[in-house]
Symmetry: C2
Subunit: 228 residues, 2 copies
Amino acid sequence: MNVISRTADAQKDSTANPPAHEVVYHQLRDLVLFGELAPGDAVTIQGLVQRLGAGMTPVREAIRRLIAEGALRFQGNRRVSVPTLTFDELSEIEFLRKTIESQLTERAAQRVTNADIDDLSRIDTALDAAILNGDVRGYLTCNYQFHMTLYARADAPILLGVAEQLWLRFGPSLRVVCGRFGTENLPDQHKELLTALRSADTDAATRAMVKDVVQGTDQIAQVLRETA
Amino acid sequence: MNVISRTADAQKDSTANPPAHEVVYHQLRDLVLFGELAPGDAVTIQGLVQRLGAGMTPVREAIRRLIAEGALRFQGNRRVSVPTLTFDELSEIEFLRKTIESQLTERAAQRVTNADIDDLSRIDTALDAAILNGDVRGYLTCNYQFHMTLYARADAPILLGVAEQLWLRFGPSLRVVCGRFGTENLPDQHKELLTALRSADTDAATRAMVKDVVQGTDQIAQVLRETA
DNA sequence: CTCGGAATAATTTGATCATATTCTACGCCG
DNA sequence: CGGCGTAGAATATGATCAAATTATTCCGAG
């Protein structure tokens, strides 16, 4: 039957080893997203070949892909680097995040189940723990996971893709923010958001999300001001 | 002096031959954007190697880049194809285009010079000629050029980049629209837009742009409805 | 004699290609 | 109808070529 072959395929897919360029892409993506690479850092092919123990071709493809997504910047001469945000770019990002992520929150709020909210709660608990321990990497990953888990419920792949791209753009700067302010007073409107979700208050949820976005953007802006 | 060496460099840059992967990228991009490739068409590496007379590596990179931009779709098995839009995706695109392109129009309207408006006028004239002649390719390129020339004045690189990605997503479907309706009654709120720009009426300009977006989206939706 | 600057040499890195390997899909045979 | 083998395309590697930045050296001026 079709069902059997489908199951066989699914099993095969889960067992399938993902292609190298995919693996390298995700590794490099996380490096950018969680601030392992600082703004302005040079990204060389051969450096990544050694760092990740991969071949040249997969590394090349991963870099191209991340350039297309705005996570890396092609400097005209053949050099590639992690972009440094300008004020103007940051305000563009703020505008886009406010419209897109509030839309994602609105749609997600209408679709979340109790199990979803419990998942989000668990992530938020881990996030709090990371803040207490001063675990910057943990904070960044949990925060990202919290937002993306919620947005995944919005059932809007294109909006989600754009949102992911925006996060890639300010990821490196966010790491700098943590280094500057410490993990104590970082934006966390998650409690407010969770209670809004539990009471199915869509408006309150989107308001909380916008607050979270603005707060995060402001902190990055402050660091930019100091650096300049 | 520094000035002299800089000028020499600039001259060298203008003469510089662009790398092959860049050339292939733009060729393939135009193929998608102007509907040379229909939705659902398979995109093979070797097919492009022959069609464009390029090497494998540049073609690979161009394809990856366009996949990252949403212009092509990776089908899980190693196949790549031109995506077919769904209704849900189309409505996401409409939402994003309305917010982003109206924002771009607003910013551009505050910055355009008379020379810019004259440029836009010229493009619009060429567009009208293409419509009269039933020149689909000419219509598509002029229409794209009209919008992007305006948006370039907005001085907002990130917004512009997202807008370009969205155009890549519905480019193939737009070609189908032309094949279905002919070029006669295609969306063209450009006259209204131009007069608004001339009188520096920002609100009227953004209203005209939103109308243009909605009209285009509706026609695609109609074709999708018929195809399904 | 020392210092600054420009031209050039050397090293590093990116771009491209030819080739081997692996995986998918299709067709054939049991 | 299902499993196996083959064909063909995509993936990945390493070598080779080209470009750019860096380092060095040489010359002239102070």
